[in-house]
């Protein structure tokens, strides 16, 4: 019986000219999203690669130079293009692309790509994920709003039921039809995005298995979301007397849940957990740094100094050995202050990211009114373009900064025995400074951080499917 219902539904959709036009429009939008997404991201990928090479060349061509001057010039940590950013750019255009690994300071990532975009881009996100989130529910609604309501209006619902078809079978058949059409769009889009990623971003060398697992994860959560929209559409179509009213209610829900709430939730979250003002953040940082400075005669400072010297020489040293060493005292002071300041920077940035996490949790709370919010979180997480991925990059860049500055300070400590910073490192020294090799966090970390979002989308899907089949137990007025 189900097969017959599904076949009938498919035939009706194929015969309906409007549906074909709709598929064409959705297909075109997805294609446009795909082309623009990949054109932008592949250019970015190449630019990052070129900039990285250029930065290494400039750093290595400094000639004879004092290591501390080199610590101020330092290196840049370039953020590579995320594994699935052409599918969902997430926040990557809003968080900066490069970190200046300068001595003394932990700088935030600079150059947000969005600053160079047109202001119209702020009205609507037109990435593939943006199109799927916005348009797929609309497609489902337009395919399904009249599924039951029209049958009732035309009197065919009574005929179908009296012919022995159970309500549950009818709903299941209609559900499978509408869901499979929308799911086909999802599969088409995500598979195409994955395949293109493999070819276009060869340079970023994302392992195939990682891309495959990310695709499957995306397909899974988008599939759950589509199941929710399909079940809700059929539920409304079943309980409302007229197809027109069903359409109006569903469009109202779409406007609220898909268009309005995600935007409003972000705005409200920023009001509830306001981001710090940059001037206040940096002023507070200065105060914390100066408060944390140790007296050079304190035991803590002496211990830090000793640790720095032992690390520079790569062995444990006795008190008398240290006293007899020909080392640059200023180099030691610089490295000790790096070590001490680093704790403050880490704590301050952790607080900043904690605030972003609070904002995300608040939005998550609001996703009890709209699973779209949770889906956006999941989509960005699996694409490697969420705030967590940026935090990971920022922390790795800081680790690299500490590494570079340490190498430069140790060069000074060991080689400059005077006090006046006169030592010039030889031109070939710069090539010994380690390169920044960044790898995006593994997918399993994204899953671990997105458990709550997944649960929300899953619960919405389950709840709507249960509600739909609950009607199928004969609670539907025919």
């Amino acid at each position: 019986m189900n097969k017959a219902i599904i076949a009938k539904e498919f035939t009706e959709i194929v015969r309906d000219g409007r549906a074909i036009v709709l598929f064409g429009i959705v297909g075109l939008l997805l294609l446009l999203g795909l082309v623009t997404g990949f054109s932008t991201e592949s250019t970015r990928s190449q630019t990052v690669f070129d900039a990285k090479v250029a930065d290494a060349e400039v750093f290595n061509a400094q000639g004879a130079k004092n290591p501390h001057s080199a610590a101020h010039f330092s290196r840049m940590a370039h953020k590579p293009v995320a594994p699935f950013s052409a599918f969902d750019p997430g926040v990557s255009a809003y968080v900066g692309q490069v970190v200046w690994l300068e001595g003394h300071y932990r700088n935030p990532a600079m150059f947000r790509a969005a600053e160079d975009a047109t202001e119209l881009g702020r009205l609507e996100n037109f990435s593939l994920a943006g199109v799927l989130i916005l348009i797929i529910p609309l497609l489902v609604i337009l395919l399904g709003y009249g599924s039951i309501a029209k049958e009732r209006e035309q009197g065919t619902l009574r005929q179908i039921i009296s012919s022995g078809t159970s309500l549950r079978s009818l709903l299941l058949g209609k559900f499978i039809t509408v869901f499979s059409i929308s799911f086909a769009f999802l599969v088409f889009t995500i598979v195409l995005a994955a395949v293109t990623s493999l070819f276009v971003f060869e340079a970023s060398s994302q392992p195939f298995t990682d891309l495959f697992l990310r695709s499957v994860s995306l397909l899974f959560v988008y599939g759950l979301y589509t199941a929710f929209v399909t079940a809700t559409t059929l539920f409304i179509s079943a309980i409302v007397q007229e197809a027109k009213n069903s359409l109006l209610i569903l469009l109202g829900l779409w406007t609220v849940m898909v268009v309005s709430l995600p935007r409003l939730s972000a705005s409200i979250a920023e009001k509830v957990y306001p981001s710090p003002q940059s001037s206040e953040f940096w002023e507070a940082m200065d105060v914390r740094l100066s408060e944390n400075r140790l007296d050079s005669s304190s035991a803590e400072y002496v211990a830090a100094e000793r640790a720095v010297i032992e690390r520079a020489f790569g062995k444990k040293l006795t008190e008398s050995e240290i006293e007899n060493l020909a080392i640059n005292a200023r180099g030691v002071r610089l490295e000790v202050s790096e070590v001490i300041d680093s704790e403050i920077y880490t704590a301050a940035y952790a607080e900043l990211f904690k605030n972003y996490a609070n904002q995300k949790n608040f939005r998550r709370l609001l996703s009890i009114f709209s699973p779209t919010i949770a889906l956006q979180h999941l989509s960005q997480a699996f694409s490697g373009t969420d705030v967590n991925a940026h935090e990971h990059f920022s922390n790795e860049a800081e680790r690299q900064r500490n590494k570079i500055v340490r190498v430069l300070n140790e060069e000074l400590i060991i080689n400059d025995s005077g006090e006046n910073l006169r030592y010039l490192a030889p031109p070939e020294f710069w090539e010994t400074v380690p390169e920044f090799e960044y790898e995006y966090p593994a997918l399993k970390i994204a899953w671990r951080q997105s458990g709550a979002d997944f649960f929300i989308v899953f619960a919405w899907a389950l709840f709507s499917i249960v509600a739909m089949f609950w009607l199928g137990k004969g609670r539907l007025e025919v």
Binding site: A51, M110, S260, A266
Partner: protein, 476 residues
């Protein structure tokens, strides 16, 4: 039935449905929330600007005090070694907030609106420490009353007016109404007008309340006038959508058909066309990558340091007066930093020009799309009128760079000569002041598309009237 009775009837008709009333309530709440969100953003921006000026002023007061002491010093006071160095001077700069900036956040949450101007930073790092904000909020586009109007006013108008005749048609009443000798055109337009009046009227009333409430604590110079301009655009936008709804409704098809068509138009005009035009503009006219800009700047910085004696010689050729003055007070690295910054700025000038060129071309392309979508046209005007457009922010950045270049020219000889500037000289250096483009000019750019869209409205009205004439008691 007079106009007042008609309006009362329409009001009752619309709000008798609990669902419609609820939707309307949500819409008004969204407008009011948008107003408050805009106010919060504006207040935060003002506070940030205030903090910035306070902090710069504190630093510079202390710098000036040291300099004055140095000028009166007989050598007995211990002052910082770089006292009076022009390289240590910092200027506060900001983009003034326009009177109605709470009505549209525009690009102000993303682009710089204040910053220190100092010779220590090359142009590329002039505004590199941006304001912190929730990245997801930025990505989704901050919410304000203008955005609420742009996105939701058309939807509410559609909900209120899509069934202007189809409700009667679907329930087979339209034929009966026509048989009573009612002038359909008159009846149709009165309904459209009163329904639009309710929606646009409530929108304007909510906006007015927000305008009054948000005025607390800010100077109201010109706020009312600019609000009137903003409101004019709201009325135009509402009128455009009302006429669009009218033309679809005049085809006398089912309510379902009307809703689907109008929804398609809404998705197309408010979401797809803006997003497509933005993507197209960015793909066709890409700006040079900032990473390339940075790489170029670093390369020049390195080369300048490596060939510093040559650069100094070149500078000396431009300023021979410095050759006779051998008395220097500051260490070499001060003049060295100045030379590096100036050379980097000069060398990366062409990249900045190509940024501006690409932005100009993008704007030209987007200007074309304004003729296709009232949302693009009105969105741009909202940002212009509230002073939060990308163009105004970019103008601020350019003016800040120009100010820095002028100051560098003014104090260059002193810095290269490693000498302090005098307190009198410093006091005569003008502060940064943003040169505003007159509002008339800003609006002028966006009025042509509005004129074109008004012509479309006129054309659609004619089509509607012709379609209405085709409706007869038999056909309905």
């Amino acid at each position: 039935m007079n106009a007042f009775d008609f309006m009362r009837y329409e009001w009752k008709l619309q709000f008798s449905s609990r669902a419609v009333f609820l939707v309307f309530l949500v819409f008004v709440s969204t407008l009011i929330y948008g107003g408050f969100a805009g106010k919060a953003e504006r207040d935060a921006r003002n506070a940030a600007i205030e903090n910035h000026y306070r902090s710069v002023s504190t630093t510079m007061d202390s710098w000036l005090e040291d300099l004055r002491t140095l000028e009166q010093d007989d050598g007995s006071i211990d002052l910082p070694s770089l006292t009076g160095s022009a390289m240590d001077v910092i200027f506060a700069s900001s983009l003034p907030q326009e009177p109605l900036s709470d009505f549209s956040i525009g690009q102000s949450d993303l682009l710089p609106f204040f910053g220190e101007i100092s010779l220590k930073n090359p142009n590329i790092r002039l505004f590199s420490k941006y304001e912190f904000a929730d990245p997801i909020g930025l990505a989704l586009g901050n919410f304000d009353i203008s955005k609420a109007v742009l996105l939701f006013l058309p939807l509410i108008l559609i909900i209120f007016s899509f069934d202007v005749t189809s409700a009667d048609r679907d329930s087979k009443r339209l034929g009966l109404i026509l048989l009573q000798g009612i002038n359909l055109r008159n009846f149709f337009w009165r309904r459209i007008f009163f329904r639009a009046l309710i929606v646009i009227g409530v929108t304007c009333a909510s906006a007015f309340a927000v305008m009054i409430y948000n005025a607390a604590g800010v100077t109201s110079d010109g706020r009312f006038a600019i609000f009137a301009v903003w409101m004019t655009f709201v009325v135009f936008y509402g009128a455009f959508w009302s006429v669009l709804i009218a033309v679809i409704a005049s085809f006398n098809r089912s309510g379902e058909f009307n809703v689907l068509t109008l929804l398609g138009l809404w998705v197309g005009l408010t979401l797809i066309v803006p997003a497509t035009s933005s993507s197209l503009a960015e793909s066709l006219y890409p700006t040079p990558s900032r990473l390339t800009y940075l790489a170029e700047a670093r390369e020049v910085e390195n080369e300048t340091r490596l060939s510093e004696p040559d650069v100094v010689n070149e500078f000396m050729l431009d300023h021979p007066e410095l050759l006779v003055d051998v008395e220097s007070q500051f260490p070499d690295y001060v003049s060295s930093a100045f030379l590096v910054t100036s050379t980097v700025d000069e060398a990366t000038g062409p990249i900045i020009s190509s940024f501006e060129e690409a932005l100009g071309r993008r704007e030209e392309l987007v200007d074309v799309f304004k003729y296709f979508s009232p949302t693009i046209a009105v969105h741009s005007l909202f940002n212009e009128v509230t002073g939060t457009s990308g163009r105004r922010h970019n103008s601020y950045i350019m003016q800040a760079r120009a100010f820095k270049a002028n100051y560098a020219q003014l104090v260059g000889p002193n810095v290269i000569g490693k000498k302090p500037i005098s307190a009198e000289f410093f006091e005569n250096v003008p502060d940064f002041g943003f040169k505003e483009e007159p509002l008339g000019m800003r609006l002028g750019r966006g009025l042509k598309p509005i004129g074109f869209l008004l012509l479309i409205v006129f054309g659609l009205t004619m089509i509607t009237n012709r379609q209405l004439m085709k409706i007869s008691p038999v056909s309905s």
